[in-house]
């Protein structure tokens, strides 16, 4: 294991140069990790969409409402198992930087269709019972330190005025990519007040959430639903939740593609940095390699020395980078408006790709110096002047 000692001693010969190279690799790995995390978080919001759920919205744009009366009609369509609905409430909770979805929902059915929102039967019963009850996602509860029984006050914008709610339940996410940053309350509570304050806006819902029996029949059922409302004052457009979410995020798709691309460019750049370090190091040691060969050391030993050193630097850089990526991603999440990304986590695959990339970089960066060390014969090695 003397060879291992020599590898480490060699790596530490130019401490500043090695430090800078390690730092460079670490920074690249962090940049890679953060970029990949944003990309995967983005993708997983699409993945989170259930395949057996359709969204029925106003045909022109989802900012226009649909009549409440559609619910029964949709329920009668063949293959439809359950129908719920929601409406975007907007509003401000305490501070306008507190982003999280606030939705008026059909209290009776919403947890039947949103099966990935886990709530206890008692809490659900309490929620249904009380006009101004609300249920919040676990993440909101922790973030704002809210308990069941607490009051939550929203300042309305789309629905002006002061709105008071009592928290009657906290739902838990079923999957890692389940959005647990929503606040859900009775559509009827909001609608009753609209009937009084702004009667023309009463009786409207934002979109219907349609649970179907067979995900494979999504296309036919969608057509069936839209056919009912053809030529009505509010035609509908029904699509799978996945397609709906994709449409929502695709506007930013170009940025995501660029980020995706950049994350791999970074790896390429850092490979050049390490290769440069290794080429310099191996050049300076030309004479020492000649000495080792003279003493009888083989090509195999020289490959081990150079490749080993390259890998040591790459792995330390990769390790440091990955270790720092976690707190940095956490900090990044903090710096973003609250709830901007509903779920922010570093996927294991990101760590694996980063570490594999570090190993690959270590190998590639050593190819040129190894080739040079092997083809320089002893006599030329001794005559070499740096």
């Amino acid at each position: 294991m003397k060879i291992l000692k020599l590898i480490f001693a060699n790596a530490l010969r130019h401490k500043l140069r090695t430090f800078l190279t390690v730092l460079g690799i670490a920074i690249a790995v962090i940049a890679f990790g953060v970029l990949r995390t944003v990309v995967t978080v983005w993708d997983s919001s699409v993945d989170a969409a259930a395949a057996n759920r359709l969204i029925t919205r106003q045909a022109v744009s989802f900012i226009f409402p649909l009549p409440y009366a559609y619910k029964e009609k949709i329920l009668n369509v063949d293959g439809v198992k359950n129908v719920s609905f929601a409406n975007w409430f907007g509003g401000v909770y305490k501070d306008k930087n507190n982003f999280f979805a606030r939705l008026c929902v059909d209290a009776e059915t919403i947890f039947d269709v949103m099966q990935e929102f886990l709530i206890t039967p008692e809490e659900l019963a309490n929620f249904k019972k009380e006009r101004n009850a609300c249920v919040i996602g676990q993440d909101i509860a922790t973030q704002y330190n809210i308990k069941v029984g607490d009051q939550m006050v929203l300042e309305g914008d789309i629905f002006p005025g002061r709105w008071e709610f009592v928290v009657r339940g906290i739902y838990k996410p079923k999957n890692k990519n389940t959005d647990d940053t929503q606040m859900l309350f009775h559509w009827t509570y909001v609608d009753e007040r609209m009937k009084v304050e702004s009667p023309t806006r009463a009786g409207n819902v934002g979109w219907y959430i349609v649970l179907i029996n067979d995900a494979n029949k999504a296309a036919e059922i969608s057509e069936g639903i839209d056919a009912i409302f053809k030529n009505s004052s509010a035609e509908t457009k029904t699509e799978t939740e996945k397609a709906f979410t994709q449409g929502f995020v695709s506007a930013s798709g170009a940025i995501i593609t660029a980020m995706n691309f950049m994350s791999f460019v970074i790896i390429g750049i850092i490979m050049l940095v390490l290769a440069n370090t290794m080429i310099m190091a191996a050049r300076e040691r030309t004479r020492e390699y000649a000495v080792l060969k003279t003493l009888g050391f083989s090509a195999f030993h020289l490959v081990g020395l150079i490749l080993g050193e390259s890998l040591v630097i790459a792995l330390i850089g990769g390790g440091v980078g990955i270790t720092l990526t976690y707190p940095i991603v956490a900090g990044f999440e903090q710096a973003m408006p609250k709830g901007f990304f509903p779920f922010f986590f570093i996927e294991p695959i990101t760590t694996i790709i980063a570490m594999s990339a570090a190993i690959l970089i270590g190998i590639l960066a050593s190819i040129f110096p190894i080739q040079r060390a092997l083809k320089t014969n002893i006599v030329d090695g001794f005559r070499f002047v740096g």
Binding site: K2, I3, L6, N10, E288, L292, L295, I378, F382
Partner: protein
């Protein structure tokens, strides 16, 4: 006495940019077991080249070199590497120690290629370093040693595998008078007490005086006796 080394009609040319540079012209020489030979000659006369050929780190363009019964001019690269490890100790003008390793570790290097156990290696390294008078400096790094001491570490590295042949290329070329004398005395001792055959390249007449036999090279030819 038997010949340890037989050099037969050896020529050597280097090729640079398709131009042939002849360095040694049809050289023949015998070196006996237990000899201490000094190779002298002006700079560029081919001393280092001849030494490298005999020590098996370079190959002749023509002719044969037989050392200790082996025709080394016919060996392949890796066989030659093994042969060097077993038969030759090298001493260079600039010591050529690995700077990040201690004196002990530098001397241990050639033994890493043997099957010796760690304890056996330790014993041999200590013996070699004590022999060159550095028993108390074993864990110093080359930077902490004087030039003369570094050269003694290099000599310990050359003898640690107990080779039959020691080759030294200007071993005192970079040393002050006093250190040079010490090194030469040590080499004389290795020759007399330990029966090492030594070939030393030098252009210093003081150094050559210590050898038993002196040969001169001039423009690639051996001259005189």
């Amino acid at each position: 006495m038997a010949s340890l080394i037989t050099v037969q009609n050896v020529s050597k040319s280097y090729w640079r940019d398709k131009i042939e540079i002849p360095v040694l012209n049809n050289i023949s020489i015998n070196v006996e077991q237990g000899e201490f030979l000094a190779l002298m000659g002006p700079s560029g006369s081919g001393k280092t080249t001849l030494l490298n050929l005999i020590a098996g780190i370079d190959k002749p363009s023509n002719g044969n070199i037989i050392v200790n019964g082996t025709d080394i001019s016919s060996l392949g690269e890796s066989a030659l590497a093994k042969w060097r490890a077993n038969n030759v100790g090298f001493i260079f003008q600039f010591y050529n120690l690995i700077p990040v390793l201690s004196a002990f570790e530098n001397v241990e290097l050639p033994l890493l290629l043997t099957k010796l156990s760690k304890a056996q290696r330790k014993k041999q390294v200590e013996t070699a370093l004590t022999l060159v008078g550095l028993g108390d400096r074993m864990h110093h790094s080359p930077k902490q040693l004087s030039g003369g001491q570094e050269q003694r570490v290099a000599i310990a590295r050359a003898i640690v595998t107990d080779p039959v042949l020691l080759v030294a290329d200007e071993p005192t070329g970079d040393l002050d008078r006093h250190s040079a004398e010490e090194i030469l005395t040590l080499m004389e001792r290795l020759n007399k007490e330990f029966q090492k055959t030594i070939i030393m390249v030098t252009h210093d007449p003081h150094a050559a005086e210590r050898a038993k036999l002196v040969k001169h090279l001039e423009k690639g030819d051996l001259v005189g006796a």
